[in-house]
Symmetry: C2
Subunit: 510 residues, 2 copies
């Protein structure tokens, strides 16, 4: 149709109302437009004219053809990048911000694009949980359909049986054993006072920070919450009484510490007292051994497959998954446990993420690992115990203070695993995954989801093998974008340089 009309001017040229106006873009012009240039000079049979004509004509064709192709490419690129961004911009029309951390993220979004040239509007789809018990079919391995069951909405938590085959589980365990596992927690952690000193806090300031309910006294749970995180030793209420007696800390014997009583104690007094007295491994926050397995190019195929499957499962951009932490493989011996904790911390405007710190240009003392998603794999069947507990899953409210009651400490996975809201039994090959952060309502990471609190119940019989994949995402879009740009630049540099061994070696250390 195209070429025919060119040669015969008397023909009616298609008007805008022609039905082909809605033709699909597949009616490509390139093949159909190539005959005319040749046919034209031949018909006219005036060679000299046509040589001139064909020249100008050729130029026109060329220009239009190129412009056309360029525009089609540009439009296709637009379509491609628009799918993500539309979903975001739809939300942005009704932009939300109710916390300062949100504002930081929001303001930097548009900036990131302009600054870094990073593909704009990277988008984090969040899987719909619908309701507890909902089952959706997911396609992760060709020729196989997995079932993904919603276990809770707060946190958004899913279980996928048979995510790994028996053989894959065996390979991961074997690779971890070959690499060698180390104690997950050393007995005497060092550098504990650094943050206090760095922040230069007075005892009054620390007291006020610990006094969650601001009643001018430190309740046992206020002390416990802090000291467990700080010292890595799992104090119980009984331990605390013992320490108070030993240190003569609670002079009036009311079980509470006043500012005066608190001020008389060294900041590491509890830890020193306990270490003097002797601490068992079972008294640590975490009693396990672990190692890290690199999953990138050159790694065992099972590890690479696993990462691809995680990308499909979480539906996150593969670049995000690839730049996340390596696989952590953990072994719990009989008696092993991991008391309830968050995999990643809350986000304040000044919080830096470990993974993007290099790109962030900040020296913030607040740092967290920014683990947006945790994917946990069970690598064996545990004879008894070893469940993963989510003590406050789908609770109506989250109150830190109410977690540690006098009689029941919901955080204690050695004593009170049965009192929590949800427990997942370890079954070989099953994966569970959950979001440690909420959405910000605009397609990116929002606030920490406090309900993602979880722990490993004590293994009462046998050994427990699990692996963790954490997907690291910076809640600050700009920082994540800058980081990814930096890594991609480095990688292309390394490819140019002949001795790129350093890079691989660095990974093998993991």
């Amino acid at each position: 149709m195209l070429s025919g009309k060119m040669m015969e001017p008397q023909d009616d040229i298609e008007e805008d109302d022609s039905p082909s106006a809605s033709a699909p873009p597949s009616s490509s012009p390139s093949p159909s437009s190539s005959p005319p240039p040749r046919a034209l000079p031949r018909q006219r049979t005036s060679l000299q004219k046509s040589s001139v004509c064909s020249r100008s004509y050729f130029m026109v064709v060329m220009v239009f053809f190129h412009v056309y192709i360029i525009n089609v490419i540009a439009l296709l690129l637009y379509v491609h990048y628009n799918n993500g961004s539309n979903a975001i911009s739809a939300n942005r029309d009704f932009t939300s911000s109710d916390s300062s951390s949100h504002k930081v993220t929001g303001a930097s979004d548009a900036q990131a694009t302009a600054d870094s040239g990073f593909p704009r509007n990277m988008f984090l789809p969040r899987i719909e949980g619908i309701r507890v018990g909902h089952v959706q079919k997911v396609s992760l391995v060709s020729g196989k359909v997995h079932e993904m069951k919603t276990l809770s909405l707060k946190p958004l938590l899913f279980e996928i049986p048979d995510f790994l085959s028996e053989e894959e589980c065996a390979v991961v365990v074997r690779l971890a054993q070959l690499k060698g596992l180390m104690e997950s927690q050393v007995m005497v952690p060092e550098g504990q006072e650094e943050l206090d000193q760095q922040l230069n806090l007075s005892p009054e300031e620390i007291f006020n920070f610990l006094d969650l309910n601001q009643d001018g006294q430190l309740q046992p749970h206020e002390i416990l919450t802090h000291s467990r995180v700080r010292d890595g030793i799992w104090l119980t209420s009984e331990n605390l009484k013992e320490i108070y007696d030993g240190l003569k800390a609670d002079l009036d014997g009311n079980g509470l510490l006043s500012l005066e009583e608190f001020g008389r104690l060294r900041s590491d007094a509890f830890q020193r007292f306990l270490l003097q007295r002797g601490v068992e491994r079972s008294q640590l926050v975490r009693n396990s051994r672990h190692t890290w397995l690199y999953q990138g190019q050159g790694a065992h195929q099972v590890l690479q497959d696993l990462r691809k499957r995680v990308t499909l499962l979480t539906r996150l951009p593969s670049s995000l998954v690839e730049l996340s932490e390596p696989l952590q493989v953990v072994r719990y011996e009989q008696g092993g446990h991991y008391h309830a904790h968050h995999d990643s911390g809350p986000v304040y405007p000044e919080t830096a993420c470990t993974h993007t710190r290099l790109a962030a240009n900040t020296t913030s003392p607040f740092q967290t690992s920014c683990r947006y998603i945790t994917v946990l794999f069970y690598l064996n069947n545990v004879q008894e115990g070893g469940e993963t507990t989510f003590p406050v899953a789908d609770n109506r409210t989250y109150e830190e203070a109410s977690l540690i009651q006098n009689d029941v400490d919901l955080l204690d996975t050695r004593k009170h695993c049965d009192k929590g809201n949800l427990r997942v039994k370890p079954v070989k090959g099953t994966a569970v995954f959950w979001y440690n952060y909420l959405s910000d309502g605009r397609g990116w990471v929002g606030e920490q989801d406090e309900y993602s609190l979880h722990g490993g119940c004590v293994v009462t019989q046998g050994t427990k093998w699990v692996a963790n994949n954490w997907i690291n995402v910076d809640p600050d879009y700009q920082r994540q974008a800058r980081y990814q740009l930096l890594v991609s630049q480095q990688e292309s540099q390394e490819q140019e340089e002949p001795n790129s061994d350093q890079h691989i070696e660095a990974h093998q250390d993991l």
Copy 2:
């Protein structure tokens, strides 16, 4: 490039690596490409040649220009229709179905497109709640930004202060008064036995249906749940004892009805007993007066504006909102109440929706109003009481049996409104809205959200005016599509016919 090589192989034509290949679509070809064609023949100064040349040249330009424009339009259309469908298809790749009702919907989706020609992939966006207390800014009225606060996630419930202005509230109340209000519930409902008879159930079958925990005995709460829905009279545990005594129903006096005891009662025995004894309005499920206001073309501007604002608020296709029920305006006098209920029922495969029944071609005895969303407007400030209660909002579990305990009946909004999880205070101009159904995970309506249970607490002082907008959506995509097609066909027919008054009159009846 293609044609270039044919004519002048020596010319260096732009290669694929040219920077313009990634140029944005804004570099439109029509202005920038027009100068070269003209300049070219002039430079040559051969007039006759150029006249031939310009003709063929003109044709080439025209054809390419048209093809280009057509293709741009086609691509833009592709982009346009792709946004909605992509969002759905992204979900569909991981299609879910865990209940039979889902399967019905799922199977009919593609069908609906093919059958009815209805715009395919109609999509129901669901607003993200993020977390309780989250505030998002929404743009509903030009020059004004509203704040929308998440009140609960189960049900997904939002509050928007100042949704209506004082004047708008006054107009709606006035219009309702002019129209006249009727009792929301008549004292003696008729046709109660119809369903039983239609289904032809034996006393044994009814007994088994009522015996929720299947223990062979009817507990008081099992009787109460049923009789309240059936008879519209709000029995309390005390009433029940009274009735048992009066009818000598509970022969062994254990407070439970065995099949034998149950079988001796007429199916309307309780209702007859109560009516004989006399029933107060305060003993009804619902003690209020209401009317319906049409919101379409010709209606008061405030009513039309309200509907547009509801469309913006819910982000649903406007055709869905326009085909929903009219505005219901309700007045509660002092002492008025509405015990806790669901605005719409559960969805079974054989359930029909009231609004699409005409298009559905079914005579199912199960029918519900399929109110996907409830938007509730407070039209005045109530002196005391009259809160909207959501007794189980964000509860970890929903157990019908545990709602009615011996001492606390969470469904009773006259006695136990203070025991529920969430209460919304009526404030003039504020709107609240919630989803009565979950998502099906594929952009359409899923199962009923049981947590959407709500009621109107008793008005202890003053009068309470509210209005309800329900957005009706059939959980069966195909039925909804067929219904909308049918209505649009009827409307276009009526427009052709001169006497379209009937249509308007029919609406004014509402």
